[in-house]
C-alpha cells in the first residue's frame, strides 16, 4: 500500500523520472547544484544520484534522479531500478512522496506514454514540461493550462538549461497534489474493458494487490504472450487459468491482444496533444535534418566522428599537461614542507613517500579524467553522441557488439574504471560483459607516462614525410594496437563464450541543442568525486603498500638503487626474472612490472628509484631516459634496454591487465570472480606472447 506521507526519516523524497533525452539530468543538476552525491544502489551496480534541493517554503527535500525509461515496463536492469523505486517496490528505497516526470515539450506524444502509466498507478506526479524553447523553434507551442486540465496533474513549463521555470517547479514540488479523482481517460474497446475490470477485481480480491497495482497487472496479463504466463509464479493458478480463457475469448473476437492497450493509450494521447497544442507548423528542413545529412552519412559521418575523436584526444593530452605539472609541483612542495616538520624515520617516510606520493599519484589523474568527461558530456548533451553510436553501429556490429558499446570503450581511454562502470547502459548482459572485458585494452591514461618515457628514451625523433614524427606514430600505433586486439577478442568472445543474436539497433536521435555549461561542469565534478572515492582509495592504499615493499627490509646507508634491490620488491623482481627472461626483461624491469600491478605509471617512478633519481616524473625524465639507455649489467655486459626490449615492454603494457583496481571494478560489475579471472589470465597471456614475439623478432632483425 502506498503511503502519501513523508518517508520514515521525515525528509520529503522526490523522484525525478522521464524519457531518455528529456533533459532530466539537467533538471536535476539545476535543482541540486553541488548538493548531490553518487553512490550505488545496495546489492546492484547501478548508480544512485541523490541531491538536496531547498524548496519554496524553505524546507530541504531529497531528489532522486532515476535512470531514464520509456515506460513502466523495464527493458534493462537499469530501467528496472527506476520502475521499482517509482512503484515503491524497491526494498532499499522508500516510495517517493512525489514524482516529477520530466517531459520533452517537443516530443509530447511519446513522453506522455510514461506519464499515462504513472497516472494509472495513482502516483502523485508533477509534469515538468522541459525544453519548451526547442519545441517553439520547431513550431510546437504547448498550452500549459489545457494540458493540465486534460491530464489532471500540475504542469510546469521550463527550460532547464537556462533556469526558466525552476522557481515554479520548486513551488510545485513543495506540495503533494491530490490524486486526480478522474477515472482513467484512455479507454479500451468494450469487450477488452470488461475482461480487464473483471480480472482487476479478481486480483484485488486475492488480497495481494492494491487497486492501482491490480489494474496494471491485469493489463500486463491480458496483453502478454501465452508463454509469459508459464513463467510467472506471482499469481494463483486459478487466476492464470482465467487469464488463459480471456486470451482465447479476445483472440476469437479478433483483437490484437498484444497491442490493444498500447494502441488505446496512444489514441487517447493523440487527442490530449491535439487539444493542448496551440500551434504546430511543419517547419521545412530543420537544422537537425541538415546536420544529420552529414553526421549520419555512411562515409562522412564516420569521417567527422574520427576527426572529432582525434581532436578530443589531442585537446585532452595537450590541455591536461599544464594542470598535471601544477599538481606535481604542488605535491612536491607539500612533501618538502611536511618533511621539514617531521623528524626522519619510518613514519616520516611513510607519510612523504607513501601517503603523499600516493595521493599525488591519484590526483594527477584528475585533469585528464575531467577533460574527457567534459567532452563526453558535451557530446551527449548536444545530441551528437546518439549519432556517433549510430555511425559506429556497423563497425561494432562486425565484432558482435552494439553501437552503444563504443562509449564505455571510448571512456576507457582515460581510465577503464569509469569506462567499465558506464557499460551498464548496455541492455544485454552478454554484450555488457563483452564490452567490459575488452575495455582495459583501450590504452588508459596511466599507461601514458610509461609510453612517453620509453618512446622518448628509445624511439629516434626522425620525421616521416616531413610531417609525422616517429615517436608520435609509435604512440598512435600503440593505441591502435590495443584497439585492434580488443576488437579481435570481442569478435572471438561474442562467437563463443558470450554468443547471442545480433542486437537490434533502436536508438533515439534527439534534436541538436545547446547544452547547459553548468550542467556539464556539475557532471564533471561528480565523475571526479566518484573516481576519487572508488579508485582513489584503492590507489592510495596500493601506494602505501608499494612504498613498504620497496623500503623494507631496509638497508643502512644505501643508495636508492641499492635499497630497492634489497627490498621485498627487488627480491620479487629477481624471483620472476627467469619467467620474463625469454622476453629479454631483467629483474629491474621485473620490479617495474610488479610495481605496475598497483598502478601502471608507478613504472616510471620505480625506474627513477632504480636509477637513483629523486624526481622521475618532472624534468628528470630526460636524464632518466639517458640512464636507462646506458644501463649495462656489470656481470654480462648486456644492456638492460635495447630497442627490441623497449618495444617489448611497450607491447606488454598495451596488453597486460595490471591495474588491480580494474579487477576490483570488474568483480563488482559482473558480480563474481569468473570474468575478472578470465580477463586477467587472457590479457596477461597475450601480453607475454606479444612481448616475446616483438623481442625475438626485433633482436633477430638486428635491432640490438
Amino acid at each position: 500500500m502506498r503511503d502519501n506521507g513523508s518517508t520514515s526519516t521525515g525528509t520529503r523524497m522526490i523522484a525525478l523520472v522521464g524519457n531518455p533525452n528529456s533533459g532530466k539530468t539537467t533538471v536535476f543538476n539545476a535543482l541540486t547544484g553541488l548538493r548531490q552525491k553518487v553512490a550505488n544502489y545496495p546489492g546492484v551496480t547501478v548508480e544512485r544520484h541523490v541531491g538536496t534541493v531547498r524548496l519554496a517554503d524553505g524546507v530541504d527535500c531529497l531528489v532522486l534522479d532515476l535512470p531514464g525509461t520509456y515506460s513502466l515496463r523495464a527493458s534493462s536492469p537499469v530501467e528496472a531500478i527506476a520502475v521499482d523505486v517509482m512503484l515503491g517496490r524497491a526494498a532499499h528505497t522508500p516510495p517517493p512522496d512525489l514524482i516529477v516526470c520530466v517531459v520533452d515539450a517537443g516530443n509530447l506524444e511519446r513522453n506522455l506514454f510514461l506519464v499515462s502509466q504513472i497516472i494509472d498507478n495513482r502516483l502523485p506526479v508533477v509534469l515538468a514540461l522541459n525544453m519548451v524553447d526547442v519545441a517553439r523553434e520547431h513550431g510546437v507551442v504547448v498550452n500549459t493550462h489545457r494540458l493540465e486540465k486534460e491530464l489532471g496533474i500540475p504542469v510546469v513549463p521550463m527550460v532547464a538549461t537556462t533556469g526558466v521555470g525552476l522557481d515554479e517547479l520548486r513551488r510545485a514540488m513543495a506540495a503533494t497534489p491530490a490524486l486526480s479523482p478522474r477515472a482513467r481517460e484512455w479507454t479500451l474497446p468494450e469487450p477488452v474493458h470488461r475482461e480487464l475490470e473483471e480480472l482487476t477485481g479478481m486480483l484485488v480480491g486475492s488480497g495481494k494487490f492494491s487497486e492501482a497495482a491490480a489494474f496494471n497487472e491485469a493489463i500486463d496479463l491480458l496483453t502478454s504472450h501465452p508463454s509469459a504466463l508459464e513463467q510467472t509464479d506471482r499469481f494463483d493458478p486459478a487466476i492464470l487459468d482465467h487469464v488463459r480463457i480471456d486470451h482465447q475469448k479476445l483472440d476469437f473476437l479478433g483483437f490484437d491482444r498484444e497491442s490493444v492497450a498500447a494502441t488505446a493509450r496512444y489514441a487517447w494521447i493523440r487527442q490530449v496533444v491535439a487539444r493542448s497544442i496551440d500551434r504546430v507548423a511543419h517547419p521545412g528542413i530543420s537544422r537537425t535534418d541538415r546536420l544529420d545529412r552529414i553526421l549520419t552519412h555512411r562515409v562522412w559521418g564516420l569521417v567527422v566522428f574520427l576527426l572529432l575523436m582525434a581532436l578530443m584526444f589531442q585537446s585532452i593530452f595537450s590541455w591536461a599537461t599544464a594542470p598535471m605539472e601544477l599538481i606535481a609541483e604542488g605535491f612536491d612542495a607539500l612533501g618538502r614542507g611536511v618533511s621539514g616538520l617531521m623528524p626522519p624515520g619510518p613514519l616520516h617516510d611513510l607519510i612523504i613517500n607513501g601517503a603523499i606520493a600516493g595521493v599525488a599519484a591519484v590526483v594527477m589523474f584528475l585533469p585528464q579524467i575531467m577533460f574527457l568527461f567534459f567532452f563526453l558530456t558535451l557530446l551527449e548533451d548536444t545530441g551528437y553522441m546518439a549519432r556517433a553510436a549510430y555511425v559506429m553501429d556497423r563497425l561494432m556490429g562486425r565484432v558482435g557488439l552494439p553501437g552503444k558499446a563504443f562509449i564505455p570503450l571510448l571512456s576507457s581511454f582515460a581510465c577503464a574504471i569509469p569506462g567499465i562502470m558506464s557499460a551498464r547502459t548496455i541492455e544485454r548482459e552478454r554484450d555488457r560483459v563483452a564490452t567490459m572485458l575488452i575495455a582495459p585494452l583501450m590504452s588508459c591514461s596511466a599507461r601514458l607516462p610509461v609510453y612517453t618515457l620509453l618512446i622518448a628514451a628509445f624511439i629516434p625523433s626522425t620525421t616521416i614525410l616531413g610531417v609525422l614524427s616517429l615517436p608520435a606514430l609509435t604512440m598512435f600505433g600503440l593505441y591502435l594496437f590495443g584497439v585492434v586486439v580488443a576488437l579481435a577478442i570481442a569478435w572471438v568472445v561474442k562467437r563463443t563464450l558470450l554468443r547471442s543474436p545480433k542486437t537490434e539497433l533502436l536508438l533515439e536521435l534527439p534534436p541538436y541543442k545547446l547544452p547547459s555549461l553548468k550542467s556539464i561542469l556539475l557532471t564533471m565534478w561528480e565523475r571526479a568525486v566518484v573516481f576519487l572515492k572508488q579508485a582513489g582509495t584503492i590507489i592510495l592504499g596500493a601506494s602505501i603498500i608499494m612504498w613498504f615493499l620497496v623500503s623494507y627490509p631496509a638497508l643502512e646507508n644505501a643508495t636508492p638503487s641499492q635499497q630497492i634491490e634489497h627490498s621485498f620488491a627487488g627480491r620479487a623482481g629477481k624471483f620472476v626474472e627467469p619467467a620474463i627472461e625469454p622476453l629479454g626483461f631483467n629483474w629491474k624491469i621485473g620490479i617495474g612490472l610488479i610495481s605496475s600491478l598497483f598502478q601502471r605509471e608507478v613504472f616510471v617512478s620505480t625506474m627513477g628509484t632504480i636509477y637513483n633519481l629523486q624526481n622521475a616524473e618532472g624534468g628528470g625524465s630526460s636524464s632518466l631516459a639517458s640512464r636507462m639507455r646506458e644501463d649495462v649489467d656489470p656481470l654480462t655486459g648486456r644492456p638492460t634496454f635495447t630497442l627490441p626490449i623497449a618495444l617489448a615492454v611497450l607491447v606488454y603494457y598495451v596488453l597486460a591487465m595490471q591495474c588491480l583496481s580494474t579487477v576490483a571494478i570488474m568483480r563488482r560489475e559482473t558480480n563474481g570472480w569468473k570474468w575478472p579471472a578470465i580477463q586477467f589470465a587472457t590479457m596477461t597471456g597475450l601480453a607475454y606472447a606479444a612481448a616475446f614475439i616483438v623481442y625475438r623478432v626485433g633482436t633477430a632483425m638486428g635491432g640490438s
Partner: protein
C-alpha cells in the same frame, strides 16, 4: 488482419508518411518498439536510409534502427 497493401518499413519510400499496420517482431521487442512510439496506427516517415539501416521520424522524434527491425514493421500508405 493485415490490410492488403502492407510493405516493410525498410522498403517504404523515403519522405513519404506511412501508417504502421502490424509488428511482427518478438513480443519483447514489440513492446520496446511500441513504447518508443512504433505502435499500430502510428504514422511514420523514413528520412534516411543507408545499407539497410534507416532513420525515421515518428511522433516528432527521429529514431534510428537497423534493417532487421525495419523489416519487422509492416506499414501501409497514409492518406
Amino acid at each position: 488482419m493485415t490490410p492488403h497493401h502492407s510493405i516493410r518499413l525498410a522498403d517504404a519510400p523515403l519522405g513519404k508518411r506511412v501508417r504502421i499496420s502490424r509488428l511482427r517482431s518478438r513480443p519483447d521487442v514489440s513492446i520496446r518498439l511500441r513504447e518508443m512510439g512504433f505502435c499500430e496506427d502510428a504514422v511514420v516517415r523514413c528520412v534516411m536510409k543507408s545499407h539497410g539501416n534507416i532513420i525515421c521520424e515518428i511522433l516528432n522524434t527521429r529514431v534510428a534502427m537497423n534493417s532487421r527491425l525495419a523489416g519487422d514493421i509492416l506499414v501501409s500508405p497514409f492518406e
